[in-house]
């Protein structure tokens, strides 16, 4: 089951609606890295509201997604972390540094807009 990735202006939006297996999240990483180039995206909002747990593997994968796509020229914002998932991550002592997070899709898009247009990029594009 591939995660659908939508394009909205310069942004890509990927929304995880159900529990994910490890291979599905790796597939998403590869799809996003590929789409950033093909669709010339400047930012990604990754909505993880449907994810059942964020354990060490998922946390690492989210970081990898952000770092991979940054190398391809796009910023990533993670949105939709559920309250109980957030508490579990704190108890687990997992964090998503250096990832950007926001409450929901709307906020995520705002974060991207201010980061990408307010000179967060050094190359002036």
């Amino acid at each position: 089951m591939a995660i659908p990735i939508l394009k909205q202006g310069p942004w890509l939006i990927a929304s995880i609606q159900s529990a994910l297996s490890d291979s599905e999240i790796l597939e998403l990483r590869d799809d996003l890295a590929d789409m950033v180039g093909r669709r010339r995206a400047r930012g990604i909002v990754l909505d993880v509201a449907g994810i059942d747990v964020i354990d060490s593997f998922v946390a690492r994968s989210l970081r990898t997604i952000a770092m991979t796509t940054r190398l391809r020229g796009a910023e990533t914002v993670i949105v939709g972390i559920q309250p109980e998932v957030a508490v579990a991550m704190v108890q687990f002592q997992l964090d998503l540094e250096p990832l950007h997070t926001a409450l929901d899709l709307e906020e995520g898009l705002e974060v991207l807009k201010s980061r990408v247009t307010n000179g967060a990029r050094a190359d002036g594009r």
Partner: protein
């Protein structure tokens, strides 16, 4: 009434099922959604440990009902070579696979009990439990 749930762990898709089963058992025992997520996260780490280091094993989710408390006991078993240095495996940042070494220490932090039996070529068994105190009111209601 309800007994052990056994999930055979052979690949990453089995982990998804193990997490869902653990969450369902926790819910039946009256654990909060929050605790259900904590237990599911620990199950995920224990299961992944099996997939990454051994390739196959099983996870048993055992409901425990006692008079003053109830619990979810998670038993992860494999017949692999065992963990060479159990103390090290429980330290943050001790990674042998491609992980960050946060899995087992993290799982131990979120469970109330956590023990590892490993070595002598007899595989590894990790037993972890999370408990919920049952108050007077809950016990009274049940007796009626």
């Amino acid at each position: 009434m309800d007994g052990d749930v056994l999930v055979t762990i052979e690949n990453d898709v089995d982990l998804v099922r193990a997490r869902a089963e653990a969450r369902a058992v926790a819910e039946r025992l009256g654990f909060s959604r929050m605790d259900g997520t904590l237990i599911a996260t620990a199950v995920s780490e224990l299961g992944r440990n099996i997939v990454v280091h051994v390739g196959a094993g099983e996870i048993v989710v055992r409901p425990a009902r006692e008079d003053d408390r109830c619990g979810v006991i998670v038993i992860a078993r494999d017949s692999g070579p065992g963990i060479r240095d159990v103390d090290a495996a429980l330290r943050d940042g001790y990674a042998t696979g491609n992980g960050l070494g946060l899995g087992l220490p993290g799982a131990r932090r979120i469970m109330d009990e956590f023990e590892i039996e490993s070595g002598n070529g007899s595989g590894t068994t990790i037993k972890a439990a999370k408990w919920r105190i049952r108050d007077e009111l809950e016990r009274l209601r049940e007796r009626r």
